[in-house]
C-alpha cells in the first residue's frame, strides 16, 4: 500500500481486526450522518405528539401542542444542514431540486422535505398563531408591529368565519401531516433498508423501527423541553399533561423495543452467512453503544422506571416530585438511547467488511466539518432556533392552559 496512505491511517490500522478490503479501512458516513436521522426523528416524533391533540383529541397533552410544533420546526430547519455539510460540494445542493432524478430516493427527499416544511409545519404553525399574531401586531409598535403584520400576512380578520376556517384547516393539515411525518422519517429508514448489499441495514423492518424510534425520541424531547422551560419561565409543570405524554411515550417505547427484538430474533434465526461477523461486531465494537447505551440505558431502564410509577401508582401519585424526577431521568436516558440507535445503525453498518471476515474502526475527529464539535453545534442549533421561535411565537397560551399559576398574566411575556 502507498506509504502516504499508511501514514494517514496509522491510527486506524492497528485497530482493524481480521481481513477487510482496502477501501473499507476508512468509514465514510461519519457523525453527521448519525446526527441527521436523529434530528429528522425528533421532527417526526414531535409532530406526532402534536397530532395527538388535533386529530386524536387527547385533551391532556394540549399544553404541549404549540411547543411540539415549534420543536418540530426548529429541528426541521437544521435537518438538511447535516446532509448538505457532509456533501463534497455543499454549494451545489440546490441542483437536486433543479434537475431531479426521480429514481433517486435522496433526490425525492428534497421534495418530501419541502412538502413537509411548507405544506405541513409552516402552514399549521401559521394557522395556530394567526389570531395571536394579529393581536400582537395590534399591541405593539414599530418594527415588531411590522414583523407580526408580515407574519400574519397582513390579516386582521379575527371574525367567526375566519377562526372557524383556522380550526378546520388545522385538522386537515394535521391529518395530512401524519402520513407526511411518517414519510419524512420512514424515508430515512427506507434509504438504509434498501441497501441490499449491507446485511446490517437490509431489512424491511428498518423503516418501521426508525419510525417508532422517531416517535419515541420526539415525544421524549418535547416532554424534556417542557419540563425544563416551564419552571424556567415561572410556570408550574402540568403533571396531568406530563403523565399522559409519558403514557404515550411508554407505549411507543414498548412497540419500538418489540420491533427491534423481532428484527434481532429474525436475524439470529435466519443466521445467514453474515451472522458471525455481526455478532462479533455487536459483542466487541458496538458493545457499549448497543448493549449498554441503546438497549439497557436507553430502553430497559426507562421502561422499568416508568413501569415503577405505574405499578406503585399510589405511592408515586402522592409524591409528585419523585414522579417528576423519574420522568426526567427517563426522557434523558431515552434521548441518549435513540442517539445510540442512530449511531449503531450508521456506524455499525460500515464497521464490518464485505468479506465478512474483518472489522474496521471509526475514528472520530474533533474539529473539522465531520468532527464532534460541529456535530454538537448542529445538535445545539435547534435549541437556539427554538429559543428564537418561542420569542416570536410564544407557545405559552397552551403550554400553561391548564397550569395552576399565573396562566394569563404571564401569557406572551416571553422567556
Amino acid at each position: 500500500m502507498n506509504p502516504e496512505i499508511i501514514r494517514s491511517l496509522q491510527e486506524l490500522l492497528p485497530q482493524i481486526q481480521g481481513y477487510i478490503y482496502p477501501n473499507e479501512i476508512e468509514i465514510h458516513w461519519g457523525l453527521l450522518i448519525v446526527v441527521y436521522p436523529y434530528i429528522t426523528g425528533v421532527v417526526a416524533g414531535a409532530f406526532i405528539l402534536a397530532s395527538l391533540v388535533k386529530v386524536f383529541n387527547v385533551k391532556e397533552v394540549q399544553p404541549l401542542y404549540r411547543l411540539s410544533l415549534l420543536t418540530a420546526l426548529a429541528y426541521l430547519l437544521v435537518a438538511p444542514m447535516a446532509l448538505v455539510s457532509h456533501l463534497g460540494h455543499p454549494g451545489r445542493f440546490y441542483e437536486i431540486l433543479l434537475t431531479p432524478q426521480t429514481s433517486s430516493a435522496m433526490a425525492m427527499f428534497g421534495f418530501v422535505y419541502a412538502w413537509y416544511l411548507m405544506a405541513v409545519l409552516l402552514l399549521e404553525i401559521w394557522f395556530v398563531h394567526r389570531t395571536d399574531m394579529i393581536d400582537m401586531a395590534e399591541n405593539s409598535t414599530g418594527a415588531t408591529r411590522l414583523l407580526y403584520r408580515a407574519l400574519s400576512l397582513f390579516s386582521k380578520d379575527k371574525g367567526e368565519r375566519a377562526v372557524a376556517f383556522d380550526h378546520k384547516a388545522l385538522k386537515v393539515i394535521t391529518i395530512v401531516g401524519i402520513p407526511s411525518a411518517f414519510l419524512l422519517h420512514g424515508y430515512v429508514g427506507f434509504i438504509f433498508g434498501s441497501i441490499k448489499a449491507n446485511p446490517w441495514w437490509s431489512s424491511v423492518l428498518i423503516p418501521i423501527v426508525f419510525l417508532f424510534s422517531a416517535i419515541v425520541s420526539g415525544i421524549a424531547l418535547v416532554v424534556l423541553l417542557y419540563m425544563i422551560i416551564t419552571p424556567l419561565t415561572g410556570g408550574k409543570i402540568n403533571m396531568k399533561c406530563v403523565d399522559k405524554a409519558v403514557d404515550f411515550l411508554f407505549y411507543a417505547v414498548i412497540v419500538d423495543f418489540s420491533l427491534e427484538m423481532v428484527d434481532f430474533i429474525h436475524r439470529v434465526y435466519q443466521s445467514e452467512e453474515e451472522i458471525k461477523i455481526l455478532s462479533e461486531m455487536v459483542m466487541s465494537k458496538l458493545f457499549l453503544s448497543l448493549i449498554i447505551v441503546q438497549v439497557l440505558l436507553g430502553m430497559l431502564v426507562p421502561l422499568l422506571l416508568i413501569s415503577l410509577t405505574k405499578i406503585f401508582k399510589k405511592r408515586f401519585s402522592l409524591n409528585e416530585d419523585m414522579r417528576k424526577m423519574v420522568y426526567f431521568i427517563s426522557v434523558i436516558l431515552i434521548q441518549f438511547g435513540i442517539f445510540a440507535t442512530r449511531w449503531n445503525v450508521v456506524i455499525g453498518g460500515q464497521m464490518f467488511s464485505k468479506s465478512f471476515r474483518g472489522l474496521t474502526t471509526y475514528k472520530m475527529e474533533f474539529g473539522g466539518i465531520e468532527g464532534l464539535l460541529y456535530a454538537i453545534v448542529l445538535l445545539a442549533l435547534p435549541i437556539a432556533i427554538l429559543f428564537v421561535l418561542m420569542k416570536v411565537l410564544p407557545p405559552w397560551k397552551e403550554l400553561r392552559e391548564e397550569g395552576e399559576t399565573g396562566t394569563e398574566a404571564l401569557g406572551g411575556a416571553g422567556m
Binding site: Y19, T99, S155, G358
Partner: protein, 252 residues
Amino acid sequence: MGKLFERFPDPLARLIVVVVAMVALGAFAYFVLIPKPVKDIEFQWADAVKTEKARPVRYAGFQVCEECHGEIHNTKKTGYHKDLSCETCHGPAKAHSENPDKVKPNIPTARTFCPQCHAYNPSRPRGFPQINPVAHNPLKPCSSCHNPHDPKPPTTPKECSACHGEIARMKAVSHHVQLECTTCHQAPQQHKVSPRSVKPTKPQAREFCGKCHGKDATDKLAKNAPKVDLGEHGEKYVCWQCHYPHSPEVEQ
C-alpha cells in the same frame, strides 16, 4: 383583496396569494432565469465525461501482451494465476506495447511483492497458499523457487510425507525446498514395508554436498547456493553432522 377573494375566508385568500406568488416565482426562476442547457443532465455530465476522456490511457490489456508473449500466455492460462492480468504484476504496459524496445515493464522481484497476496493472514480463505515472509526462505526472491506464470507449490512425495510430515513441512520452508527427498536419500522399496529394519541411505561423503556447495560446484541448481572450500571447511566431518540439511541455517 378583490371581489373574487371575498368568497373565501380571509386566511385562505391570503394563503392563496402567497402560494400563487411562490409558484409564479419558482416558475419564473425555473423557466426564465435558469438557462435550458443547465437543466439538461447530459450537460451536467459533459464535463465529467470530458475529464475522464482526457485522462491518459496507461493500461494495454492482456490481449495485447498475448500478441508477443504467446508462450508465457500459454503457460499462464492453465495455472493458478490464470485469472490475474499481466499488468496486475507488471504494472501499466501501454507504453511498452507501443515501444517494446525502449520501455520495459516492471518485473517485481522484491520479496515484499508476492506476500501482498500470499502472506499469512488468518482471515484469508482456507486453502489459499499463504506463507510467513519472515520464516519462508528469507532473502530469496520468490521467483527463484516458484515460476510466477505457473506457480505450483513444491511438494514432498506423499509416500515420504505420510511418515515424515514434520520433516516435509520444515523442508517446505527451507532453502532445500526444491530438492526431492531422493536427491539425498535412496529409499529401498523394503523401507516402506518395514521402515525400522530397512532404512534409507544418508549421504556419507562430503563431496555429495560439495556438488552444490563446493567452491567449484557447477551444478545448475547450485547457482545461488553458498559456497565453501571443502578442503578447509570442517574437513573431519560429514556436512550433516554440523548442518541440519532439512533446514540449513546458513545464509548467503
